[in-house]
């Protein structure tokens, strides 16, 4: 892979800011660098200048750049214990009146792994038609990918193992078919999901949410951007709404917003917005 230097990365950030008004300056440097190098490899770009030029001169490229740059959630049903918690501790026994106007948001969808997992869970407990799901995407490429149902085979084996540990009521095979060396997920699962084409600062964040699934996204930010985005999440949640982040992400005491949230499950990093 081509190795980018810090000067190259600053130039890329500058070009994107100038051409598209997207600010990547507060993304965590090491993972941002690695992602950029992967984007270059995928697109056959052999040096930094190639990428500068593509970003400056080819607006179509930026859409696919946004799809390729962001790390999709790894596999479906990552951390099965979290999905079990949602089913057994959260949704089971939820009073009917709480389900009125129950809105869920997945702020960053790239491959749809979290989205399809959530929809499968909700379908199996017969809540899929009772809640409202919002899913934000940064690019048309991500949106098309998710709506096509396509899913890489190499991620399917782990997804199946995860599903078994989740102890769902079927097998994962129930929810996809195989075709041309890839899986096609059952797109009827996401038929009532409302997709939002948004920017990387979530300017169109939905409001009055009961649940935000935002796992392993903030690991790609530096602490400054983590604070900014957490503030957005905080404002989007209704009182006592839940924010779920990755198991190795935390709201550190140094974080200005840590007092706005109460940690209700340490193992799964589940927070509740204080009333």
């Amino acid at each position: 892979m081509v190795e980018l230097g810090i000067v190259d990365i600053r130039e890329i950030v500058r070009i994107i800011k100038k051409s598209y008004d997207y600010d990547f300056s507060n993304f965590a440097l090491t993972s941002f660098k690695y992602s950029l190098e992967k984007v270059m490899a995928v697109n056959g770009l052999i040096n930094a200048e190639n990428l500068f030029r593509k970003l400056s001169d080819a607006p179509d490229f930026f859409d696919s750049f946004l799809h390729d740059l962001f790390i999709p959630s790894t596999e479906m049903f990552r951390d099965p214990s979290l999905w079990r918690w949602l089913r057994e501790e959260h949704f089971y026994n939820m009073p009917e009146r709480h389900l009125d106007n129950y809105k869920i948001w997945i702020p960053q969808c790239i491959s749809g792994a979290e989205l399809y997992s959530l929809c499968i869970l909700l379908k199996e407990i017969d809540l899929i038609d009772k809640v409202k799901i919002f899913a934000s995407v940064y690019s048309n490429k991500s949106l098309e990918f998710i709506k096509s149902g396509r899913y890489p085979l190499k991620k399917l084996e782990v997804s199946k193992e995860n599903y078994v540990r989740f102890q769902g009521s079927n097998t994962l095979e129930t929810y996809y078919t195989l075709s041309n060396n890839e899986a096609i997920r059952d797109t009827s699962l996401i038929k009532s999901v409302e997709f939002i084409k948004d920017d990387i600062n979530f300017s169109k964040a939905p409001q009055n949410l009961k649940l935000i699934l935002f796992r392993n996204v903030m690991i790609y930010y530096n602490p400054t951007l983590q604070n900014l985005i957490l503030d957005k999440m905080n404002k989007s949640l209704s009182a006592a709404g839940n924010l779920i982040i990755g198991i190795k992400e935390t709201l550190k005491p140094s974080n200005a917003l840590s007092t706005s949230f109460e940690l209700i499950n340490n193992n799964e990093s589940i927070y509740k917005r204080k009333i």
Partner: protein, 193 residues
């Protein structure tokens, strides 16, 4: 062998099959005032989140933790790459975790931890590859060497599985090929500064 013990900022160790006992021995040999952070990238099962730190801690002289994202590294502590995450080292002595695709079928990947640590610490890094059954770590050790860090591999003759150390040696002219006892003796020079 003369090394300037005050120069080094971090020690990183990578291992896979057959490395657990070796890591345990190394950790039990370090003084509780070991002057730099110890980064551990060891292959482990994706879905088993707990138990590994506890097992490694039994005989360790220094505290071991699985860091959270953006945690600051401190001297005299060991940081074990958490299950199902890559562990990157950021420039400001911080951990940055990643859920990017596995590399060499591994997440955490030793190549990624070593490469990012090499970029962060340049010639102030000591890197050790231990016993293991795949090629992960070979490329990472090469980057450490290119940045001027010290490269050590466990003597393949002693390794339970020698694929990992041999792959590393094929790719890089490593500084030292050491038995576990020799690794411990080498690190003891850092112990008493």
């Amino acid at each position: 062998m003369n090394i300037d013990v005050t120069k080094y900022k971090a020690l990183i160790i990578g291992g896979s099959a057959g490395s657990f006992q070796v890591v345990t021995k190394i950790l039990s040999s370090l003084s509780d005032k070991f002057p730099i952070p110890v980064l551990l990238c060891l292959h482990r099962l994706k879905h088993v989140r707990s138990g590994f730190v506890e097992a490694l801690s039994l005989k360790s002289n220094i505290p071991i933790e699985e860091p959270n994202d953006k945690d600051q590294l401190k001297p005299g502590r060991a940081y074990l790459a958490p299950a199902n995450y890559h562990m990157f080292i950021e420039l400001a002595n911080r951990i940055a975790l990643s859920t990017d695709d596995p590399v060499n079928h591994s997440r955490p990947s030793i190549d990624l931890s070593f490469t990012t640590a090499a970029n962060a610490y340049r010639d102030k890094l000591i890197a050790i590859i231990l016993s293991g059954a795949n090629r992960d770590g070979a490329l990472g050790l090469k980057v450490v060497s290119e940045r001027g860090g010290i490269t050590i591999v466990q003597d393949p003759k002693e390794c339970e599985v020698k694929t990992m150390t041999e792959s590393a040696m094929q790719l890089t002219k490593v500084d030292y090929v050491y038995s576990t006892e020799e690794i411990i003796r080498f690190l003891s020079k850092l112990n008493y500064t």
